[in-house]
C-alpha cells in the first residue's frame, strides 16, 4: 500500500503539471481562433450535458496543423531552431568538455571551488545575465572597447543582434548543463585505467580517445540533450541577443500568442515542437536507463 502511494505521487505530479496542461494545449491547437475571451472556439459547455460535449468535439479539427504547412515561415523556423540548437550543443561540448576535464583532473581540494564557480551564475537571474551580454556584445560594448583598445580592430564588430550573439548566449547559459554531467562521468573514472592503457602501449592522446572519451560517453550524451532540448525552444536569448533575421520557433510562438493573439496556431506550434522533442527526450531517457543498468 505504501509502495503504491510512493509510486502514485510522482505520477500524480506528472499528471497535474505535464499531462493536463498538454491536453489543454492540444485541445486549443484543435480549436479555431475567435475574438473573445478566451480567444478560441469551441468552448466546452458542461452545463449542456452530453450534447454539449458532442458539439464541442465536432468543433475540433486539424485546420491549424494544415495551416502550418501552407506558410513556410513555420518549417523554416523549426529548421533554423534545430540548426541553432545543434550548433550550440556542439559548441557547448567543445567548450564544456575541456572545462569538465580540467575540473576532474584538478587537485581534490580545488574541486568544490571549481564546482561552485560553474554553478555560481545560477544565483543571478537568467534575464539579467542575458541583458549583461547585450552590454558586452553591443557595438559600443565592453568587448569592442577592449578589442579596439588593444588595437586588434579599428572598426567595432557587429555581434549583437546576429546569430553569433545567439550562439554565445545559448552556449553561455547552458554550459553548466554540459559541464556537470561530463564532469561527473570523468570524475568517476578510475585513473588506473589510463595507466593500464599506457602500460599496454597507448600514448596519452590515444589513451584519451580509447578510454577517457568512451567512458565519459554517457556524460556527453546527457550533457548534449540537456543543452539541445531547452535550446531548441529558446525564446529569451534569440529575442534579446538575436537580430530580426534570427528565426527561432520560440520567437514565432511568442508572436502568435501575444502579438497575434492566435492561441490555436500558437498551441499548434507548441504541440509540434513537443512532438519533435519527444524523440530526443526518449533517447535521453534510454541513455540514462542504460547507464543505470551498466552500473548495476
Amino acid at each position: 500500500m505504501r509502495r503504491a502511494i510512493l509510486i502514485l505521487v510522482p505520477y500524480l505530479w506528472l499528471l497535474a503539471l505535464f499531462l493536463v496542461p498538454f491536453l489543454i494545449v492540444l485541445k486549443i491547437s484543435l480549436s479555431d481562433a475567435e475574438l473573445s475571451i478566451p480567444p478560441y472556439t469551441p468552448k466546452l459547455d458542461l452545463t449542456a450535458g452530453w450534447a454539449g460535449i458532442k458539439e464541442f468535439l465536432a468543433g475540433l479539427d486539424f485546420e491549424n496543423f494544415e495551416f502550418l504547412t501552407t506558410d513556410d515561415l513555420y518549417w523554416k523556423a523549426y529548421l533554423s531552431s534545430l540548426q541553432i540548437a545543434v550548433i550550440s550543443t556542439v559548441m557547448s561540448l567543445l567548450v564544456g568538455y575541456p572545462i569538465a576535464y580540467g575540473m576532474a583532473n584538478a587537485p581534490d581540494h580545488w574541486r568544490p571551488t571549481l564546482m561552485m564557480l560553474v554553478i555560481l551564475p545560477f544565483w543571478t537571474s537568467f534575464l539579467i545575465r542575458v541583458y549583461s551580454w547585450m552590454g558586452i556584445l553591443s557595438t559600443e560594448g565592453y568587448l569592442n572597447q577592449l578589442l579596439i583598445g588593444m588595437g586588434l580592430i579599428s572598426e567595432p564588430l557587429t555581434i549583437l543582434n546576429t546569430n553569433t550573439a545567439v550562439y554565445i548566449g545559448i552556449v553561455y547559459t547552458y554550459l553548466p548543463f554540459m559541464i556537470l554531467p561530463v564532469y561527473s562521468a570523468l570524475e568517476r573514472m578510475d585513473a588506473s585505467l589510463l595507466e593500464a592503457a599506457e602500460d599496454l602501449g597507448c600514448s596519452r592522446i590515444t589513451a584519451f580517445w580509447l578510454v577517457t572519451v568512451p567512458l565519459s560517453r554517457n556524460g556527453i550524451i546527457a550533457g548534449c540533450f540537456l543543452v539541445f532540448i531547452p535550446a531548441i525552444g529558446e525564446f529569451v536569448i534569440p529575442s534579446l541577443l538575436g537580430g530580426s533575421r534570427t528565426l527561432m520557433i520560440g520567437k514565432v510562438l511568442w508572436e502568435e500568442f501575444f502579438n497575434n493573439r492566435d492561441w490555436p496556431v500558437a498551441s499548434t506550434v507548441a504541440v509540434i515542437l513537443l512532438l519533435i522533442l519527444i524523440i530526443p527526450i526518449i533517447l535521453f531517457q534510454r541513455n540514462e536507463q542504460k547507464q543505470r543498468e551498466a552500473e548495476g
Binding site: 585505467l193 602500460d199 599496454l200 568512451p214 560517453r217
Partner: protein, 374 residues
C-alpha cells in the same frame, strides 16, 4: 628449480636485467621505498613479499613507469629507464585493482595491447584465443567486466598483461581472488609460460606458499626496505633476521644469550632449563643477546626422553591444530614459553599418540635451529 642450477645472482659475469641503484621514493615526507639497491636477472621469477603498505606496489609502479624514483636510478638492460614513458617500456603490469576497461568486452580487453602493436587481425585473434584458453575464459569472451565474477576478472587482467609477451612482467597479486585449485594450476601455468618465453617475472603476493612455489628468489620487504632477497630455501632455512624468520612460515623464537661452545653456541634462555645448542658459522660475543629460531617441523615430539640429543625440553601440550596432513602442537615449557612442534599425520586421527595436557619431550638436532642477532 630445474635440473641445472639457475643462480645468476651468484654469477659475477651475469648481467642483471633490472638494477635498482640507491632508489628512494617519497610521497611528501613519507618514505615508501628507502634507498634500495638490488638486481633482478633475466628469466628470474622474483617475488616480493611483505606486509600491507610496505612498498611492493610502489616498487612495481616505478618499474612500469608510473612513479619516478625520488632518488637513485633504475636500469633496465643497463639503460636508465627514467626518461622512457610507460608505453615505450617492454614491461607490462597486471594491476592490483585489475584496471579492466569497463566499456570493452573481455575479448577486447585482452586484445587492447595487441592492437596497439598494429598486429594483423589474424594474429590478434589467435593470440587472444590462446590467452582465453590459458585463463579458461573462453565462454566469457563477449562479456563486459561487470558481468563476470571477481576471480574471472582477475584472470582477464592476467591474460591482458600476458598477451603482449613482454620482456618483463609485473604481477601485482595476480592470483589472490582465485580458489586454491585454480590458483595452483595458474601458478604452474605461469612457471610454464616463463620457461617457454623466458619472460622475467616480478610478482607481488601475500601468499608465502605461492612465493615459495613459483619464485627463483623471494624478497621479503618491510617498511620500504628489502630485508632479505634469496632463494625460497635459503629464506626459509637461513633467514637473516627475526623479521624474516617470523614472516615466512611458522617459527618459534627463543630469546637468550650466547656462549661459545665447540663449533657453535650454547644459548641460555631460561632459569632452571638446560641451555640449548646451535651449530653455526656466525660469530657472537660471549654473553651477546640473540634469538634462536626453530621451525616447528624440525622439532621432534616424543613421550619418552629421547637419546643423544643436546636440545631437549620438557613441556605440556597446550593445544593441537589439526591441518589434515600435519598437526601442530603448542607445547608450554615450565617457564611459560610456548614452542611449536609439527608432525606429519601418517596415522589416522584416532591413533594420535598425544593429546591435550600430555607431558612430552621436545628435541631437535644441533643444526636445526638458526641463531639470529638481537
Amino acid at each position: 628449480m630445474g635440473q641445472t642450477e639457475f643462480e645468476p645472482w651468484n654469477d659475477p659475469q651475469a648481467k642483471p636485467l633490472i638494477q635498482f641503484r640507491g632508489v628512494t621514493k617519497r610521497f611528501g615526507d613519507f618514505t615508501a621505498i628507502d634507498n634500495q639497491s638490488f638486481d633482478i636477472f633475466e628469466q628470474e621469477f622474483f617475488a616480493l613479499l611483505g606486509p600491507s603498505g610496505c612498498g611492493k606496489t610502489t616498487m612495481m609502479r616505478m618499474l612500469a613507469g608510473f612513479e619516478t624514483p625520488t632518488e637513485g636510478t633504475i636500469l633496465l638492460g643497463g639503460q636508465d629507464i627514467a626518461p622512457i614513458p610507460p608505453n615505450r617500456r617492454a614491461v607490462n603490469m597486471m594491476f592490483q585493482s585489475y584496471a579492466l576497461f569497463p566499456h570493452l568486452t573481455v575479448w577486447e580487453n585482452i586484445a587492447f595491447g595487441l592492437k596497439r602493436d598494429r598486429l594483423d587481425k589474424e594474429s590478434i585473434k589467435a593470440r587472444v584465443a590462446e590467452m582465453l584458453k590459458l585463463t579458461r575464459l573462453e565462454q566469457f569472451a563477449s562479456r563486459k567486466p561487470h558481468q563476470i565474477s571477481g576471480g574471472q576478472r582477475q584472470r582477464v587482467a592476467l591474460a591482458r598483461s600476458l598477451a603482449k609477451a613482454p620482456k618483463l612482467l609485473l604481477l601485482d597479486e595476480p592470483l589472490g581472488a582465485l580458489d586454491a585449485k585454480l590458483r595452483q594450476d595458474t601458478q604452474f601455468e605461469l612457471m610454464d609460460i616463463q620457461e617457454k618465453t623466458g619472460t622475467t617475472f616480478v610478482i607481488v603476493t601475500h601468499d608465502q606458499e605461492e612465493a615459495m612455489t613459483v619464485a627463483s628468489r623471494v624478497a621479503v620487504m618491510d617498511h620500504g626496505r628489502i630485508v632479505q632477497a634469496d632463494t625460497p630455501a635459503r629464506i626459509y632455512e637461513q633467514p637473516n633476521s627475526v623479521y624474516v624468520a617470523d614472516f615466512i612460515g611458522e617459527v618459534t623464537i627463543i630469546d637468550g644469550t650466547a656462549t661459545p661452545e665447540g663449533d657453535g653456541y650454547e644459548i641460555t634462555h631460561a632459569e632452571g632449563l638446560p641451555p640449548l645448542f646451535v651449530k653455526t658459522d656466525k660469530s657472537f660475543a660471549r654473553g651477546q643477546a640473540c634469538h634462536l629460531a626453530i621451525r616447528p617441523e624440525k622439532v621432534a615430539i616424543s613421550a619418552e626422553k629421547p637419546d643423544g640429543r643436546r636440545n631437549m625440553l620438557r613441556g605440556r601440550i597446550l593445544d593441537i591444530a589439526y591441518l589434515g596432513n600435519i598437526s601442530t602442537y603448542l607445547v608450554e615449557l615450565p617457564n611459560g614459553k610456548i614452542v611449536k612442534a609439527q608432525t606429519a599425520n601418517t596415522r589416522r586421527l584416532a591413533n594420535r599418540p598425544f593429546t591435550w595436557e600430555d607431558e612430552v619431550w621436545l628435541s631437535w638436532s644441533d643444526t636445526a635451529a638458526v641463531l639470529l642477532e638481537g
